[in-house]
């Protein structure tokens, strides 16, 4: 794979809890190329955020434990790095925007304190106090916040949700990362604010040609934000394709069910959802984890675990229906 910035291979994660071992990630495979906007879609609890926490090595451990797999960033395994090496990847290499900007910002420090310390410790060159400040102002300006000088002296509580998320975006981009992970950055925002934030993010990453992993549960949002889409279900990637291909020709029964269940502006009622619920990670179903909810399941689905198979131009599906015997 040439030009692969991030390559996740066979990532498995378990959580030890009182009741036993939760087998959460079940061999996640994904590739992000340089300059690519990758979208990761899946419903609550499917392991999207857990995967990203492994990439940044911020998975709380215990209870979490990475039991198998590799995460190659520029060809080097993040999981084998020392603490100091990981520190250098964080910020400059990979930066992350979290779902809830209120929880991501420290309430007892001003925006200036938080943003300027990111710039001071995170940037490539050593900067003087004045330079740090001017960069902070510049980056706040870039995320279209009015009156950046004043915002630097504000506490998070003095800003609205949309403005806080802009601050978080400014923080993530202030160190000029090569890869930006945006974890549901607009889920807690209203639709008109979401529109503004998404447009801003798109413009910023385009200008800097940053690679992006955009995590969301909304198919509509991923359609606007990604060039390539990975669909995740119960701890593994079940389908991946270029955006147009995925939306015009979804193949996995889960992706199809998801597409049908989304309410459409064209009206005509809502199709039946997917029966059942996401599996219990303590005792995940044998074989394909979607098999108990799948309308097409047959014996092979219970006995074997499907792996991603290329079925067309860059279109991969983990389903036995698309594999020759």
């Amino acid at each position: 794979m040439t030009g692969a910035l991030l390559h996740v291979q066979g990532l498995k994660v378990e959580f030890k809890v009182y009741e036993g071992v939760l087998k959460v990630l079940n061999g996640v495979q994904m590739v992000v190329h340089e300059g690519e906007r990758m979208g990761l879609v899946g419903e609550a609890g499917c392991g999207k955020t857990t995967t990203m926490k492994c990439v940044l090595r911020i998975l709380p451990s215990p209870p979490g434990k990475i039991t198998a797999g590799q995460i190659l960033f520029h060809g080097r395994d993040v999981l084998k790095m020392t603490f100091h090496q990981v520190q250098r990847v964080r910020g400059r290499g990979i930066a992350m925007i979290f779902q809830d900007p209120t929880a991501a910002l420290n309430p007892v420090f001003t925006i200036g304190d938080q943003l300027m310390s990111v710039i001071k410790y995170g940037s490539r060159d050593s900067l003087g106090a004045r330079e740090v400040r001017s960069r902070a102002v510049a980056v706040l300006h870039e995320v279209q916040l009015p009156d950046p000088e004043r915002i630097l002296t504000n506490y998070p509580i003095q800003l609205s949700g949309g403005m806080r998320q802009r601050v978080c975006i400014a923080m993530a981009l202030s160190t000029e990362p090569e890869l930006l992970i945006a974890d549901e950055p607009t889920t807690s925002l209203d639709v008109t604010i979401q529109d503004q934030i998404l447009r801003l993010l798109n413009a910023l990453v385009e200008r800097r040609s940053t690679s992006v992993i955009f995590i969301t549960h909304s198919l509509g949002v991923v359609r606007e934000m990604a060039d390539r889409v990975y669909v995740m279900y119960a701890g593994s990637i079940i389908e991946s394709a270029a955006k147009e291909e995925l939306f015009s020709n979804p193949l996995h029964p889960y992706t199809q069910g998801l597409m049908r269940a989304v309410p459409k502006l064209t009206g005509g009622g809502i199709a039946e959802g997917i029966p059942g619920r996401i599996p219990d990670y303590l005792n995940p179903p044998a074989g394909c984890r979607f098999q108990p909810r799948c309308p097409h399941a047959w014996a092979r689905c219970v006995n074997e675990v499907p792996t991603l198979h290329e079925v067309g131009q860059g279109h991969e599906v983990a389903c036995f229906r698309f594999q020759e015997q």
Binding site: E43, I193, H217, S218, E224, T266, A271, E272, R277
Partner: protein, 335 residues
């Protein structure tokens, strides 16, 4: 208006805080016909939940009237007759917090029956099982407690609880916004089925316009405590008139080109909803509006009917002003 089960007339709800008066709902009028679904849509802070809570009686209105089948009910729930409380029920947004964690599902479902004195103890047990069956949950769930259930199942229980007293009007306060789409589909379809079978009327509150397109018979858009546009669903999506409606519609992320074609031409959304403590003068939306002129910051728009049941509250459509000044862009809607 003859067949209205619920009517709100110039409904207002203010909250007094140390920072000033929060005008959460500020003169809202609508009516809900028998067996229809009225969708109340708006961003957070627009007053849609406050409207719902005032209707159910959690808050007493500051001013204005609420009529249920022609009888005035604008008072808090403690002062309402029991029969009325039986007739109006609510499903809350988050089933994680609306169900008592220390009660079993059976106890939760039995409580409204007990309060309204339905049947004997044995009757009530049977009714609980029946309610569970209604929402397609197995009877043994009566012995489980809420934390053992998934989010979707909990919301089913909340719906069953609302239906326990055989209500006529159900207020649905974002019943699926905490749930995944695959589960949302199931719950919405179930709600639509109950509406058909039991002849329920729904006041459906949501921020999701795509969902509204599929469930509501009429849609009302709220902004900062006022309704800015109200229309039958098909008309609403075909001919959105209010600048805020257009901004909302063009902000929705959609999944297919067919839907893309239905959106109004790209309106670049700007600004954020102002604080309801300092409501902007004139039209409340003028701070974010892309089509405003100098009048908008001074004159508050009246609500005018521009078509069959299509109400808009925007100066562009005010007849006397439009004809006097021949305001640009308002010609095509003149009657």
């Amino acid at each position: 208006m003859t067949n209205a089960i619920l009517e709100a007339v110039e409904l207002k709800k203010y909250f007094l805080t140390s920072r000033g008066t929060v005008r959460a709902v500020d003169g809202v009028s609508f009516s809900l016909e028998e067996t229809e679904t009225l969708g109340l849509v708006g961003e957070s802070g627009s007053g849609k939940s406050t409207t719902a809570y005032t209707v159910i009686g959690i808050y007493a209105p500051t001013a204005g009237k609420i009529l249920f089948r022609g009888t005035e009910i604008s008072r808090p729930v403690a002062k309402r007759p029991r029969s009325l409380k039986r007739a109006i029920q609510i499903v809350f947004q988050d089933p994680g917090t609306s169900l008592n964690p220390r009660r079993t599902i059976g106890q939760i479902l039995e409580l409204p029956l007990k309060v309204h004195g339905v049947g004997t103890k044995r009757d009530r047990k049977e009714r609980v099982i029946e309610l569970l069956r209604l929402v397609e949950l197995p009877p043994e769930y009566a012995y489980k407690s809420p934390h053992m259930l998934g989010g979707g199942e909990r919301q089913m229980v909340a719906i069953a609880r609302a239906l326990a007293t055989e209500p006529q009007l159900v207020i649905l306060d974002e019943p699926t916004s905490a749930l995944d789409v695959s589960i949302q589909a199931k719950i919405i379809n179930m709600l639509l089925k109950f509406q058909q079978e039991m002849g329920l009327s729904y006041l459906f509150i949501t921020h999701d316009l795509s969902l509204m397109r599929n469930v509501a018979s009429r849609v009302a858009i709220m902004y900062l405590g006022k309704i800015c546009e109200l229309a039958p669903t098909a008309e609403f999506f075909q001919r959105p008139l209010h600048p805020y409606t257009k901004m909302l519609l063009s902000s929705i992320p959609v999944v297919s080109p067919e839907e893309e074609a239905l959106k109004p031409e790209k309106v670049v959304s700007q600004g954020e909803i102002p604080s309801p403590v300092n409501v902007p003068s004139g039209c409340r939306f003028h701070t974010r509006c892309l089509e405003k002129d100098e009048r908008c910051s001074r004159v508050g728009p009246e609500t005018v009917e521009v078509g069959e049941g299509h109400l808009v509250s925007c100066l562009k459509f005010a007849p006397q002003l439009a004809s006097a000044a021949a305001a640009p862009g308002s010609g095509e809607v003149e009657k």
